[in-house]
């Protein structure tokens, strides 16, 4: 190992930079929970005192609960659809030689890159031309499109990470393709499926721009927050709501990534 030691030698300035980078990455977001416990309607230093007041106030608001229900409905529908479709797509992309695969995958991954506003207005125009009124269903359609690339990208390393010979062995031992899928493939990729469900739920739960264009009369949680941002006196309770959402999102994403961690490790080794 001695010949690689010069690469492994710790680089103090770089370590310092990395620590600083992480701090700067997280600190702005941490101000939201900090001020959500501050006993003042003004979001400014010096802090006045500790209070749960804004959280208590939040609990009494019927629109918050309604928006939460809407977001959870949309989130669950989106994650189930995106993960279900994504699972088959990920299998097709990793397991089969398909002519024109590159452009097809590029097309499916478009929502990762193209500005959300373009998809938002395009879908809005389509729906209005078809005479479909905006509702939570239209938001769900938008979210499935946004979430599919995430679902596929999350599950591809899972399919890449296990040997197709296992599937072939199952087939050789007399299991048909349907049961091979459910008894061999699905358990093997299950962590990826679970991760995809958690991640796509979070993406949908937090998504703004599609919901902005496609929401009817029932707002999702981000839309509710957006509407409240106009009123300065609502700031503290929005901070409380934002803190709860952030904590839930971080936990869900962390769980998802953690469940799927060996897939990442396998993929990065390639």
């Amino acid at each position: 190992m001695s010949h690689t030691s010069y690469i492994k030698r710790p680089n103090r300035p770089l370590q310092f930079y990395a620590a600083l980078f992480l701090i700067v990455l997280y600190v702005p977001v941490l101000f939201l929970p900090l001020f959500s416990f501050n006993d003042s309607v003004y979001v400014r230093f010096p802090l006045k005192g500790f209070t749960f007041q804004w959280y208590v106030e939040l609990m009494d608001r019927e629109p918050v609960w309604a928006a939460l229900r809407n977001s959870i409905q949309v989130g669950i529908a989106t994650s189930v659809f995106a993960t279900g479709l994504g699972m088959f797509a990920a299998k097709a992309i990793t397991r089969y030689r398909i002519p024109g695969k590159g452009p097809l995958v590029g097309f499916i991954m478009l929502p990762l890159v193209v500005p959300g506003i373009i998809f938002g207005v395009a879908l809005l125009v389509l729906l209005s031309r078809m005479g479909i009124s905006l509702s939570l269903y239209t938001v769900t359609i938008g979210h499935v499109i946004v979430c599919l690339p995430f679902a596929i990208a999350t599950m591809i390393p899972r399919f890449e990470g296990f040997d197709p010979a296992i599937e072939e062995a199952s087939a050789d031992l007399g299991e048909n393709a349907w049961w091979t899928f459910w008894r061999v493939t699905f358990p093997m990729v299950f962590p990826g499926v679970l991760a995809s469900l958690l991640l796509t739920f979070t993406v949908s739960f937090d998504e703004f721009i599609m919901a902005f264009f496609l929401t009817g009369t029932d707002p999702t949680l981000p839309m509710y927050i957006w509407a409240q941002l106009r009123f300065p006196k609502e700031f503290p309770s929005i901070l409380a709501l934002a803190s709860i959402i952030l904590v839930v999102s971080f936990v869900l994403v962390f769980l998802g990534q953690w469940i799927n961690r060996d897939a990442h490790a396998a993929a990065s080794k390639k």
Partner: protein, 309 residues
Amino acid sequence: MTGQITPAPDHATALPRTGRIGMLLQRSEAARGYSLLTPTLLIMTIGILVPFGILVTMSFWTQAGFGFDTALTTANYEKAAERPIYGALLTRSLKMSAMATIATVLLSYPMAYFVAFHVHRNKMMWIVLITLPFWTSYLLRVFAWKVVLGYEGVINSFLMTLGLIEAPLEFLLYSQSAVVITLAHAWAAFAILPMYVSLEKIDRSLLEAATDLGDGPMARFLRITLPLSMPGVISASLLIFIPTTGDYITPALLGGPDGAMIGNLIQKQFGAINDWPMGAALSIILMLSIGAIALGFMAATNFVRKRIS
């Protein structure tokens, strides 16, 4: 739902496990692949291609009261070319997201380098930690910056409490720099991944060879690590530049009139101004300019790479 069930009969027919069937399946591999991809492609076609086609069509219409005049005309595009506001806003958007992209890539590269070369245990943990914020609410992360940069926000009130400034610094919020800072911060996690992947792929024996042949750390970095990680840098740049140009939330919350971007104008056409065809035309113009710049950028980097190697 029907889409998900479609592959089932296909699988069921594969029941007998004879070599002949295996051969048949082998031959129809592409067909089976397509059948698995079909539901996704169908959704994407309905959700992206069809709406986009209608958007293009609508951009050649004109608004007439509350309805549309569906006679095809290039009036919207002519208007966009004639009135300086559209061009100015587009140029400003491209400039601002170019600045955010450069800042993000420059600041994220050392971090990606650190994780790729100097983290040996719990590498996954670092990657998860860095990318975690990216998955969570974009709206709330931008909102957090509003709290930080606001007129009575964290920075101003903190500096005033310390007595360093008398009055709040007004340039912090509602400016182009506020938007650029927030964009760079919000997309940093996204930028790190592709750069990390291409740094991680670099064969370490190349670095050893360079050292054995007398290159110092700096020369080694410039001659091996940096060129080999360029694909990651290029994809990171495009992955940030393209979506940020059309960003809506950040300029809407932090930009003010000076920091407004083309996304805000597009939204206004579909909202307050209520001129959908103009909004459609602006969306198409935005897509075309981003596409042209991305292609130009890729061609330029390709040209440079060929010249170097």
